[in-house]
Each structure stands twice: as structure tokens, then as C-alpha cells.
Subunit: 203 residues, 2 copies
Amino acid sequence: MRNSRSDVVAAAMRVLDTHGLEGCSMRRVAADLGVQPGALYHHVPNKQTLLALMADEIVADVVPDADPHTTTSARATDDAVRLCRALRDAMLRVRDGADVVATAAAFRLGASRVEAELAALVGPAGARTLLLYTFGHAQSTQTRLQARVFGALVGDADTLETGDVDATALDISFTEGLAIISCGLLGGGSATIPHSGQSESAG
Amino acid sequence: MRNSRSDVVAAAMRVLDTHGLEGCSMRRVAADLGVQPGALYHHVPNKQTLLALMADEIVADVVPDADPHTTTSARATDDAVRLCRALRDAMLRVRDGADVVATAAAFRLGASRVEAELAALVGPAGARTLLLYTFGHAQSTQTRLQARVFGALVGDADTLETGDVDATALDISFTEGLAIISCGLLGGGSATIPHSGQSESAG
DNA sequence: ACCTGAACACCGTTCAAGT
DNA sequence: ACCTGAACACCGTTCAAGT
């Protein structure tokens, strides 16, 4: 054989890095592989599936950096926050990564590995809340940092006026929201208390 | 004159309703207006701008249904939650509305009217957190409900297995997340206390 | 099994020329 | 000022035919 499915995904990741999500066309991926556009459809049924595979790769090595001795719920919330941080880092590491992951995740929210891990720590409602916030903030961050680069290239004076944001300011902004949510998770009330083990369905 | 800018936006909203965001092409909007594609560029510089105008229209009449006697912060948080609910309703009211608004908002987070109102109630960090959650949840909701309709048309048996979600279940899910965040906003700690009047910059 | 060649049915955007 | 006609440089996807 000449090309495998993972060759296609690897090529797509390369094109994503050099041309961004908007420029990541099937035809360009094919060109990167030195192959005709139609050839891709032997390895992948359509573009949407290819994007989902890319999203999986971006998120692949997002792991909680703490061992699972979840006794107090304060500890669990802390682990969940760390997992969100790792997820955010993974998405920001690749060009337009947040958009790729968020788009693919929208289709199957409730079915991802990271969400399951979060749900085990802080319950399903907490997991959704954290995940949606993390996706949204990362997308916004990436859009703004990219706009800043673009503005710098054009020499746009408005850039400093409307978007005087740097990476560290956005980091702090992310942390603030995370603090609000985790505070709400600890505050009791309507927040579901997670089972310390797995949930009933592993599907 | 034959067509104004608002005619173009109105036509775009019609096309959005009948064909969805994916099918909302400049050429189709032009056809709806009985005009050549190039004619649109007399009223709008590009498609991105048209989408932003559509987003403005979708969100236009999102107003807080409570008067501004913000004395206790519990009251302010409640108003903020109600504003998020109104925003969500407005987005869900039109086909793919959440995607349209979220895409347009990503470009200028920190510059929208609704965000400013939220910030006045619960501070900038709280506003961002609520807004990103509301966008993300609404997008996910709309994607899933649409997938359910599609599955029903195709008669896909997996629909019931993987996505047994209805509108009310998603409503409850939204409320749960909102409860977590507002609980965090009230919990004090790192949440910024809003000024009861305006912030320093009205820009 | 994997790929080529070629087509089909589309896109957003530009721009001279008309009225 | 607003629009036509026509083009430019692209898309995703399909499919007979080759090896």
C-alpha cells in the first residue's frame, strides 16, 4: 500500500499548521501527500470525519497530572481544573486547535474521553460546564491572538486600541473563570455529587 | 435604489431559515433577492460582515426583564442569569442561530452589548464565563436537536441509543450549569465585585 | 487495495460595463 | 448608486478506469 489513514491525518495536521483551518482543504491535504484529491476518500469517508480524527490527535495526550485518590470533593474539583488546563494547553499548542476540537466535540458532547473523566470528578453537569467554558475560552483566545498577529503584519493601529491582549492576560482571564466555576462546584446546592467510581454506563 | 443593506440582511435571514448556516451562501442570498451574486458587494464588504449583521439581528431584542435596582449582589447575579436565558432563547429561536452568534462574537468578545450588561451585573470575569457557557451550550443544543431531526428523517436506530435528548432535558442541563456558575459568582473569593454604576470606559 | 483523470455541482470575490 | 455579465481561483465529492 502507498498511504494509510494515519498518513492522511498526519498530512492534514501539517496543512493545518501551515494554512490554518480555513486553508485546510481536502485538495491541499491531497497535494501534501502528492496524490489526487479523490484518493483521500479511500481512507476517510468525508472531511468531517477527517476533522474528528484531527481533534482526537490534538486531545490524545491530555492526561490529569494527579493520581486518583479522590476522597474529598475539594481534591476532585482541583483535579478537574487541572484537566481543563491540560486540555486548553493541548488545543492552544496547534494552530486553530480549539476550533477543530470544539467543532468535532459539538457533535458528540457526552461521548468524549475527557468529558467522562471530568464527569467522574465533578459530575455530569460540572463536566459540561467546565468543558464548554474551556472550549469557548480557548477558541476566543486563539482567535484574538491570531487577530493580533494579523494586525501586527498589517500595522493596524486599532489593534492596540481594541485588542490589547497578550497570552498572559488571556491566561489570567481563563483562570478567573475556572475559579468561579470550581467555587460553584464546591458550593454545594444543585451540583451533582460524583460517584467515586465509574458511572453506570461505560458504552 | 433597488435594494438596501437591510434588504440583504433580511434575505440572508430567510436563506438561513430555509437552508441553514452551511447552505447560507452569498449566491443563494443573491438569488433570494433576484439579483446577481456580485450585487451584494455593494451593500456588504464580505460574507463575514454579513454574518455579523445577522448575529446582531438575532440578539437585537435580548433585554433583561428586570429593572436595575442592583443593591445586593444576589439580585445582580439573578439578573445576569435571566439575561443569559433570554440570550439563549433568542439564539435557539432561529435555525443555527447559536453558531451564527458565537462565530461573530468570537471576533469581538469584550465588545458586545450583552457582555457589557452582564459585566455591569457580575463583573468582567463573570460575564465572560456566563457568556462562553451560554454560547457553547446553545451551540451544542442546536447541533443535537438538529441531529435528532435528521436521524428521525433517515430512521436511524442509533439516534435513540446515543442521543436520547429532547429540548426539555437540554433546558434542564443548561439550568444546572447556570446554577453552578451563579453559585460560584456568589461564593465570593476571586470573583470581581461589579461597580453598581458604569465601568470606567464606555468606548 | 490504492490511485488517476476527469468530471459535477458548487463556492467567495472582483470588476469592467451598463442604466 | 445599483446592478449585470463574466470571469478567477478555488471548493467537496464521485466514479469509471487503471495497476
